[in-house]
């Protein structure tokens, strides 16, 4: 059968059965609805296990896994970073502004690790409620700022702070 013959045949069957064509699209739609429903149920059942890290609030409310490794994420609390005498151990607090978790980590920190910046630490809670981290990753935000813009923002911030002091 040549391609041209096939084309004519198709035209005939297609135009002769508008109904069956609608029926096929209906079946596709029904199938998609079922697939979406299945995936939604599976994702719902998996729930928090898809989550990459738990917040300090989750940890305090015992929602984080007990007795095994997990990740805690949030902001590095300002002024909380203390370096140990060995030069490798670092102590800091992870906060979600509501709750705070103390973290101890020995190793190399990512370049973007800084106070008031996002962080994700993997490890275990010890008996004293201190999080013994085995890995620390920097989580950065979705903002991309040019240096001049940042300088201008800092200026404005300083000006506002001075203003408040005067009052």
């Amino acid at each position: 059968m040549s391609a041209e013959q096939e084309t004519t045949q198709e035209t005939v069957t297609a135009s002769g059965s508008i109904k069956s064509r609608h029926k096929r699209f209906l079946w596709i739609a029904v199938g998609l609805v079922f697939v979406v429903a299945i995936v939604a149920l599976v994702l719902n059942a998996l729930g928090s296990s898809i989550t990459y890290f738990y917040s300090p609030t989750d940890v305090m409310q015992n929602k984080a896994p007990q007795g095994r490794a997990f990740r805690v994420g949030g902001m590095v609390e300002g002024g909380s970073v203390v370096r140990g005498t060995d030069g490798l151990t670092v102590y800091f607090n992870v906060t979600d502004t509501a709750e705070t978790v103390s973290v101890v980590y020995t190793g190399i920190l990512p370049d973007l690790f800084a106070e008031e910046k996002g962080v994700v630490a993997q490890g275990k809670l010890d008996d004293h409620g201190v999080f013994q981290a085995t890995q620390v990753l920097a989580k950065h935000d979705e903002n991309y700022v040019a240096p001049e813009v940042q300088a201008a923002l800092d200026e404005a911030h300083k000006a506002r702070a001075a203003e408040t002091l005067k009052q």
């Binding site: 040549s2 096939e6 990512p110």
Partner: protein
Amino acid sequence: MSGFKYAAPAQFYSLAGKMVPWFAVLAAILAVIGLAIGLYVAPIDVTQKDSYRIIFIHVPAAWMSMFLYVVMAFWGAMALGLNTRLSAMMAQSIAPTGALMTALALWTGALWGKPTWGTYWAWDARMTSELILLFLYLGIIALRNAIDDPRRADKACSVLALVGVVNVPIIYYSVNWWNTLHQGATIKMGKASIDDIMLAGLLVMVFAFWFYSIAVTLVRLRAIILEREAGAAWVARLAEVKEER
């Protein structure tokens, strides 16, 4: 109804041939402009310094990987519903470019992840679902090659493409639905938390990726049409085919 004449592979073959050079040239020009803005004109980012510049490749590739999948699934649905050959060939021609874009997004993301996060890879929802997207593309390509009858392969691949389309909103919203290492969207409806010149470079690169994808997909589509219509009289009448014989 004149537009419908292009639904015939013979008509679309010549139309696609006329469109390819335009899209290819546009893609090349935009890529040069976009990379010039991205690599020279745009300033560094305050926190990430120069390493953020990977977004000029990473973001367009990631967007295309999702967008191409939706287009492929759309043509799959058309192929199933209308039983048209050209729709299935469209879907078939998109899969390799989609897989390339997905691989590019994952690869550039890993290169960027190491200096930024401190790791190449993390099993968070965004990265895992994007990896699943790559497996879907590769699975669809493999499935087609596993079935000898092209019309049966069309149906099987269309069904698989349609089932996999649920993964696209999961990739897109993963950063909102779950805690992920990957940050949220920078460019949202109505506002973007990115410097204007960086945004300009990014958007130019997005269009470059669009036109590249269209050009390459059309070239592949023309090859697929010729291959699958090899026995047809119109193919034998083509000047380029006559030359070959």
